[in-house]
Symmetry: C2
Subunit: 345 residues, 2 copies
């Protein structure tokens, strides 16, 4: 299935790119979309975004008491100060356990087709429940989380305000919905590339424009397109040749574990590339520490090409234009624990 | 030596309290001081507080890349969302190591006579160097920190702006000075008790006033006075009777390890009590989870008294009036790593 989609995308992308090679902005607008205020409202499903929900979600996102140890918050691995992700290579969780895959960035994650590298969570509210329970991450249980939240009157009041029609406002599900509402605000608009797409042809310099042209014409955009410059579909890793096992270990077969289809072995959601320059290391193993190496690897393993050094530099320069305005979150003051709050374990 | 100071303090505090028992506000102003804007400037020594230094310090405070693993920041254990401290009982550091003592709050720490439970750091800039290097905390080295900071042009520029006269602006010492500058801003003014001290006699209700009267008359204020309602001197723990070993283990002799004076065995800096209701658990072992138990223990072990339940409740109510305006920090966007940035270990 992915192959069909891959081929179709490649056809639609490459054909017009070559046909009107001269109009870079038009070609780019055929493949990518800028972030605008209207983008978010249209992509969040089954969860009305309200100020009360966002405010509550902000507290939950930063609250380490969602974890069993009470020291790990969402922000621990999806750090808003460092591109929405941690320092890698993979995250450290409960008991200093190392996670199996690089944490994906939370920034602009709302635009992804689905969440996690294998897309096993349909959206951010489904995703938010995963790390809270994963034994190598926050290692908690829904029951314990609800007990924790119910122990603090300030949280109970905030859940009531955020979910006024819900007869049981304090719930694990609503925790996830509030976190999704907050995370949906974590977009990074106004990147130079957004300005270029919208008409400011001087927002990119000549090297960056050359990189964009290469990114489209060489086929990178076939998997890394749309508003999030990736994150919009599933594609095989190692089309032209298999990456080394340190980059793509044989034990992690990717999306086939979700679909139970051997055809999806080593298929992953394409990486969304907004702010990519701010959040090394790269790939699902977090084993590549520079964009130059990442671009070179993609060229060889996905496209079967050897890019020249100047071409790699140009593409990396273009990727640098994907850095947008980073979210300015106010660090929230959290409800104080009470005698009924579970103890850290 | 501590006994002399203890006795002198007790004498000066208790005498006037009894003499003019009727004027609670006057008695309180003889023992305590409100937080005001002028308080901070006068207490930070050898480190001019400038906006550039505060801004840099804010980034450093939240930057997990100061730690060897690159996942632990100052804020991990001194969490601004939960009273300037973590969930306890003691902090979890590198490799999931558990620290020997409860993390002290960073809020209003600038007012303490010295830093750490044993006062081994003369001020906040001396303190800031400790956890970065402690093997059970951030487990890093000054050389590695300087290498990390120098690898990011945005940090280098900020250090130059914060230390314009320094020929080597990026240094471990200056990291500590910038963190001190930021931490000096982490005060919590406008607590109901501050308003009472300044003249608003209705800022405390009758139960809270009863608690304040008991706090002064019973002798609590002998160790917990000044602007930080404690943190202003060293006092023996277990004056009337030794607390249980789970509260005060025999292996941790407190200040005597700093002074090399056996007379300082089990002497600790008195706990500063501002926002104390926001940051259970209590004592240097973090083993007491409610203020009611903490007050009862203090009465028995320090004063040799059994407080009645209503008296304990009144004192706890008074302690609740020490919650001030919590700092509203903007979560900083940190400089992105480069190819020269040390990898997490």
């Amino acid at each position: 299935m992915y192959l069909t989609r891959f081929a179709a995308l490649a056809a639609t992308l490459l054909a017009p790119a070559m046909a009107v090679a001269g109009d870079l902005r038009a070609d780019a607008n055929a493949v990518f979309k800028p972030i605008d205020a209207a983008s978010v409202a249209s992509v969040v499903k089954n969860n009305e975004i309200t100020p009360a929900k966002i405010d509550l979600g902000s507290k939950l996102f930063f609250d380490p008491r969602l974890s069993k140890s009470q020291i790990i918050s969402c922000n621990s691995c999806h750090n808003l100060g460092t591109g929405g992700v941690d320092a890698g290579p993979t995250s450290i969780g409960h008991g200093w356990a190392k996670g199996p895959r690089r944490a994906p960035t939370v920034l602009n994650a709302v635009f992804n087709v689905a969440q996690f590298w294998d897309g096993r969570a349909v959206d951010l509210k489904a995703q938010a429940k995963g790390p809270v329970q994963a034994d190598v991450e926050m290692n908690n249980t829904p029951a314990q989380v609800e007990k924790m939240l119910n122990s603090m009157p300030a949280y109970v009041a905030e859940f009531k305000a955020a979910f006024p029609a819900d007869p049981k406002p304090v719930s694990f599900d609503n925790m996830a919905k509030a976190i999704e509402a907050f995370e949906a605000t974590l977009t990074t608009p106004n990147a130079p590339f957004d300005k270029f797409l919208k008409g400011d042809v001087n927002a990119l310099n000549d090297v960056e424009k050359k990189g964009l042209r290469l990114f489209i014409d060489k086929g990178c955009a076939a998997c890394h397109g749309g508003v999030n410059i990736g994150g919009n579909g599933y594609f095989p890793f190692g089309v032209a040749q298999k990456p080394g096992v340190e980059i793509m270990p044989v034990a992690d077969k990717g999306r086939s574990k979700v679909t139970n289809d051997a055809a999806d072995d080593f298929v992953f959601r394409s990486a969304p590339l907004r702010n990519v320059a701010l959040r090394a290391p790269y790939f699902h193993t977090g084993t590549v520490w520079t964009l130059e190496e990442a671009v070179d690897l993609m060229a060889k393993d996905q496209l079967g090409e050897n890019f020249s050094d100047p071409d790699i530099k140009a593409i990396v320069a273009f990727l640098g234009t994907l850095n947008g305005d980073q979210p300015k979150a106010v660090y929230p003051v959290l409800p104080p624990r009470t005698k009924d709050t579970p103890l850290p374990q």
